[in-house]
């Protein structure tokens, strides 16, 4: 058990820099009324790692906070919105980062999956940053099609690492989230 803990700690340390999701701001599409908004809120709170969901009914916005050391899964959050009968129009992830270098159209492995940065300048991130997800189902369909010009890599279409991600040592078949600042 001790060995396993050490191994997990080592693996965690391997995920350079990007350590902790501090919160998520999500906008849903397809609804106006408070009953629909309540359905989304209830659906999100069903996930055991969600601490609180604060809703702005008028803007269909949901500010989600998580329990300590929660293993947040963006796809699960998206599915919960879809289970309620609606869709994600925007998901912004607030992330605490420790001196993480990023390059445009390249990948960074994190505890939450691999992030593929698009439409960014090469730079070092430090402190609290906000990432916006660009994957299919995380933006309106038109925006997803429009953003396809930002990369020629196939993982944008599949959401999964393929041969295109090999130069960044991303494990084939693993989840890749496409993000921008």
């Amino acid at each position: 058990m001790k060995k396993l803990s050490l191994l997990l700690a080592f693996l965690w340390a391997g995920y350079t820099g990007m350590a902790q999701v501090e919160g998520i701001e999500l906008q849903a599409s397809g609804l106006t009324c408070s009953m629909c908004s309540n359905a989304i809120r209830k659906s999100l709170t069903f996930l055991d790692y969600v601490d609180q969901v604060r809703a702005n009914i008028r803007e269909s916005m949901f500010t989600i906070s998580f329990k300590k050391d929660a293993s947040v899964n963006f796809d699960e959050l998206k599915k919960k919105v879809e289970d309620a009968g609606f869709f994600v129009a925007s998901m912004k992830v607030k992330l605490r980062v420790d001196h993480q270098a990023i390059r445009n159209d390249h990948h960074v492995k994190t505890a939450y999956g691999t992030f593929h940065f698009l439409q960014v300048k090469d730079q070092e991130l430090n402190g609290l940053v906000t990432l916006r997800l660009l994957d299919k189902g995380y933006v309106p369909a038109k925006a997803y099609k429009k953003n396809a010009v930002l990369t020629s890599r196939a993982c944008y279409q599949t959401g999964l690492a393929g041969a295109c991600c090999a130069e960044d040592q991303v494990e084939p078949g693993s989840r890749v989230y496409h993000v921008t600042l």
């Binding site: 599409s29 397809g30 309540n38 209830k42 069903f46 809703a55 879809e82 289970d83 009968g85 609606f86």
Partner: protein
Amino acid sequence: MKKIIVIIGLACFAMHIQAQELFVYTEPASNVPARSLGLRLTQQIPVQKTGAAVGYQALPEIVWGASAKLMLHAEGFFNSRGGSVGFDGASLYSKYRFYSQDDIHRHFRMAFFGRLSYNSGAIMQEAIDLNGQNSGMEWGWIGTKLIDRLAISGTVSWLNAFDNGAAQTKKWPSGYRDAMGFSLSAGRLMLPTVYKDYDQVNLNLMLETLGQANLKSGDMFLDLAPSLQLIFKSRMRIDLGYRFAVVKDLARPVTRMALLRFEYNIFNAF
């Protein structure tokens, strides 16, 4: 020709009235949330009738969100024929949403639906009513458009009536058991004017046109159904509706009916 003018006129009228899409007399293309349960009690009270045999109807119903795209309803029919309330039958309804184009505060959605009803009560009318009068089946298509506080929805369906249990004689020649159903609904969220929290009471106003045409005789009815809906705590709903015939070639003993419905929604029930 006169009928067509009436239909077009009502449709145009409905387009200018506004409401949300939790329609009182029809279903929208949207479903209830997955893993949620809705408990409903609908009561229909005849206001004007030509025969004594059709009375007050109570329709208890359970609505289940099986998944994001599929929902199921199970409904019971109780009818106060001849002074006492008796159990007449039940119905299963399912709806599958197959198309969604959503944007902020708006969507266009389409769904298929099917209904199977069993009823042991006496057949009282030429019109087919699978919601409390006839055994039979129905399947159809729904399209719903939501634009901010306004929702507009249309339904087209095919209905087929069976015999009403062994005790009922065959009322119609077989060719008269098929009908086309159609509806056009519009509704608008009136209150609150500005959303602040989930405890605010919501008021929706709706106007629906509900029609049916017998495919053999060509006779049809067309009803107009204004309604008012109150939503409490973003989970409880009270509907008040009044349905009256505008075109009544297709015989029905009741042409004016009031509706009162209570609904309570349980999210994450499973």
